[in-house]
C-alpha cells in the first residue's frame, strides 16, 4: 500500500470485541497518545477475516504502510521499544517478561479448568479439583511471586522500575479481562483483594491512568445558557457518546456568584473539568483540539490542520490573526 501524499492511514489493531490479548496493546497505544483504529471483529465475522491474516491469529497490528505484525508479545515489545516502555536494563526486562509469562501460565490453567464444554472437554469433577488446586497451590505460588516482585521493586506504584512499562499495561489488561467475565470475577476478584492488598492497591492506581480510555471520566462542561463557544464541545461529546455534565450559568449567576470564586483558572468560560483525572481545561479551542486528538477526530495532514484555523477565524469577535501568521510565509 503505497503512501500517497495527502493520503494518511492510521495504524490498525484487529482483535475480538473483548479485552483478552489485545487489551495490553490498546492500552499501550492509548497511553503513548498514538492515534490508531481499534477494529473489533465479532465472532460471526471471524472466519471471513481469518483467511486474510498471515498466521490466522489475532491480535494483528497493521502499520501505516500496510505491513502486518502478529504475535501479541512481539507487538507489545515492539511498541514498548518504540515509545519508551521497554526497560533496557537486563534485570528489569527479566522481571517484565517473568511477570507476563507467569500470568499467562495462570490464565492457561484457568481456561482449562474453568471454561464451559466447547473450550474445555474435561469432566466436571476434574475441573472442580483442578480449579481448587489452582487457587490454593499453583495460583498462590504465582501470585506470591508477583507480589514479591512488587515489594522488591524500587517503587510500589509500578511493577518494574519507576515508570510505566509493558508489564504494567499487561497487568491492567488482564485485570480488566478478569472483571469483564463474570465467572472469573467471582472466583478471583475477592481472592486477590483479600490475600494480596499491595497488588490490589497497585492495580487500582494504574487503573486511574485509563479513566478516560474506559470512559469513567466524570466530565463537567461549564458555560452559559447559550450555545456560543461551547457548542462544538457539546457536539463532540454527543458524537463520541461520552456522558458529560452540561452545567449552564445565566449571566447574572456568572457575574455575581461563580466568576470570582477562584474555581475557574482564567475567570472565563467554557471550562472542562474531570475530578478523578485532575483535568481542568480552559480556552475553547484548546479544549476541542485536545478532545479531538484523544478520539481520533483531528486532521493529521498539514493542509487539513490549517483549514481548522481558517474555519475558526470568522467566529471571533475581534480580529485575532494567527492564521495570517501561518499564511504569511509563502
Amino acid at each position: 500500500q503505497r503512501r500517497v501524499h495527502g493520503d494518511y492511514c492510521l495504524m490498525k489493531l484487529y482483535y475480538f470485541d473483548f479485552p483478552g490479548r489485545g487489551e495490553a496493546i490498546r492500552l499501550t497505544l492509548s497511553h503513548a497518545g498514538v492515534p490508531f483504529e481499534d477494529v473489533r471483529i465479532q465472532f460471526k465475522d471471524w472466519l471471513a477475516t481469518k483467511a486474510k491474516l498471515e498466521l490466522k491469529q489475532m491480535p494483528v497490528l497493521e502499520l501505516e504502510g500496510g505491513k502486518q505484525l502478529t504475535q501479541s508479545y512481539a507487538i507489545l515489545e515492539y511498541l514498548g521499544c518504540k515509545y519508551g516502555y521497554l526497560p533496557t536494563n537486563h534485570d528489569e526486562i527479566y522481571r517484565c517478561i517473568f511477570i507476563m509469562n507467569t500470568i499467562e501460565d495462570v490464565f492457561q490453567k484457568a481456561i482449562i479448568y474453568g471454561s464451559p464444554p466447547p473450550v474445555s472437554t474435561l469432566d466436571e469433577k476434574t475441573k472442580e479439583e483442578g480449579m481448587k488446586k489452582l487457587i490454593e497451590t499453583d495460583g498462590k505460588l504465582y501470585l506470591n511471586a508477583i507480589e514479591r516482585k512488587l515489594i522488591e521493586n524500587v517503587s510500589q506504584d509500578f511493577i518494574v522500575g519507576r515508570k510505566h512499562t509493558i508489564a504494567d499495561f499487561y497487568l491492567v489488561g488482564v485485570f480488566i479481562h478478569m472483571m469483564h467475565t463474570p465467572k472469573w470475577k467471582e472466583l478471583f476478584a475477592s481472592h486477590i483483594a483479600s490475600g494480596y492488598p499491595l497488588l490490589q492497591s497497585y492495580i487500582e492506581k494504574r487503573l486511574t491512568d485509563f479513566n478516560e480510555y474506559y470512559k469513567k471520566c466524570d466530565y463537567k462542561l461549564y458555560y452559559f445558557v447559550t450555545p456560543g463557544r461551547a457548542e462544538m464541545t457539546r457536539i463532540l461529546f454527543r458524537h463520541c457518546k461520552i456522558p458529560f455534565g452540561d452545567i449552564r450559568f445565566t449571566p447574572d449567576q456568572w457575574m455575581k456568584e461563580e466568576k470570582k470564586t477562584g474555581k475557574y483558572e482564567l475567570e472565563q468560560l467554557p471550562v472542562l473539568k474531570c475530578e478523578p483525572s485532575g483535568i481542568n481545561y480552559s480556552q475553547s479551542d484548546a479544549i476541542i483540539q485536545t478532545l479531538g486528538l484523544k478520539h481520533g477526530l483531528l486532521p493529521v495532514n498539514k493542509p487539513e490542520k490549517l483549514s481548522l484555523i481558517h474555519i475558526s477565524e470568522p467566529t471571533r469577535r475581534y480580529a485575532i490573526s494567527y492564521a495570517v501568521f501561518c499564511l504569511k510565509k509563502k
Binding site: E54, L55, K56, L69, T70, Q71, Y73, A74, I75, E77, Y78, L79, C81, K82, L86, T88, N89, H90, D91, I93, Y94, I97, F98, N101, T102, I112, Y113, T121, L122, D123, T126, G130, L141, Y142, A145
Partner: protein
Amino acid sequence: FFFSSRRRHTRQRSVSWARRCVQETAIADFYLMGIYANVLNHPDWKTMFGDRIEKKYPVLHAYAEKRMKDFNLYYGKCKTKLYYFDMPGRAEMIRITLKQMHNPFEDIRIKYEDWPKEKVSGKFELQQLPILECEACGINVCQADAIMHRLGIRYGYLPISNPEKLYKVLWWCNTWKDIMEGCAKLFGPISEGKKVQTRADLFEKTVPLYFARMEERLKLNKAQSFLVGKSYTNADFYFVGIWRGFIQNPMFPEFKEITKKFPLLEQYFEVNNKLLQH
C-alpha cells in the same frame, strides 16, 4: 600521579564525589572499577590502600564490592548453574546461549524420579524448571523465555535499540514458543478424546502453516547464515534449541514427515547444529 601526596586535596575530593551511587551503570562506574581492580591486583598498592578504603570509606567500599559482582563473568568468578531434566527440551536454547557467551556453566540434570522431592524443597521459585542460578552474582531466575531475554539483553543477542529488528527477532522466538507450547499441551491436563483432535490440529494445520511462514522469511533473508541481521540473535538459539528438543524428539514422530517439505529450514538447522553445540 593519582595518589601522589602533592595533590592530596584533589584525591580526597575525587574519592568523596565517588561515593554517590547512580541508578544505572555509567562510564564512571567502569572507570572506578578499573582503578579498584588495579589496586586489588597490584601487591604494593593493595597493602597501602586496600585496607584504608575499607576502614575510612565504608560506603565506597560497599559500592565497589557490589559493582565488582557485575564483572564476575569477566574475571571468571561466575559459578553459573543450570537446572533441568536430562533432555534438551526448554533448556537447550539456554545452554547454547551460555556456551556462545563463553560462560562456563554447570549443567545439572535432574532425573524424573528425583523431581517430586526437589520440587517441594523450596529451592525453585515457581516449582518449575529450567532455573538459572549464580550464587556469586546473587541470581536465581526461572522461566525459560525470561532467562533468554535477560541473557540476550545483557550480551547483545537482542537488538533492544532498534524496534523493527527487535520485532523480527521476537517474531521468530514467539512462533517457536507457540510450537513448543502446542507440543507441551499434549502432555498436560487434557481429556483422551480431545488429545487426538488436538494432535491432529497441531500437526496438520498449525505446524505446517508456521513452517511455511518461516520458510518465506528465510527465502527473503539474503545472508541466509543468520535469521536476523549479520550475527547470532536469540532467534537462532530458539530455532536450534527447540528443533533439538521437540522436532527431533521421538515422542513427536509426525515432525519428520512435515520437515521434508521445508528444505530451507532443514538446511539451516543442519548448518547451525554443528556450530551451536554446548
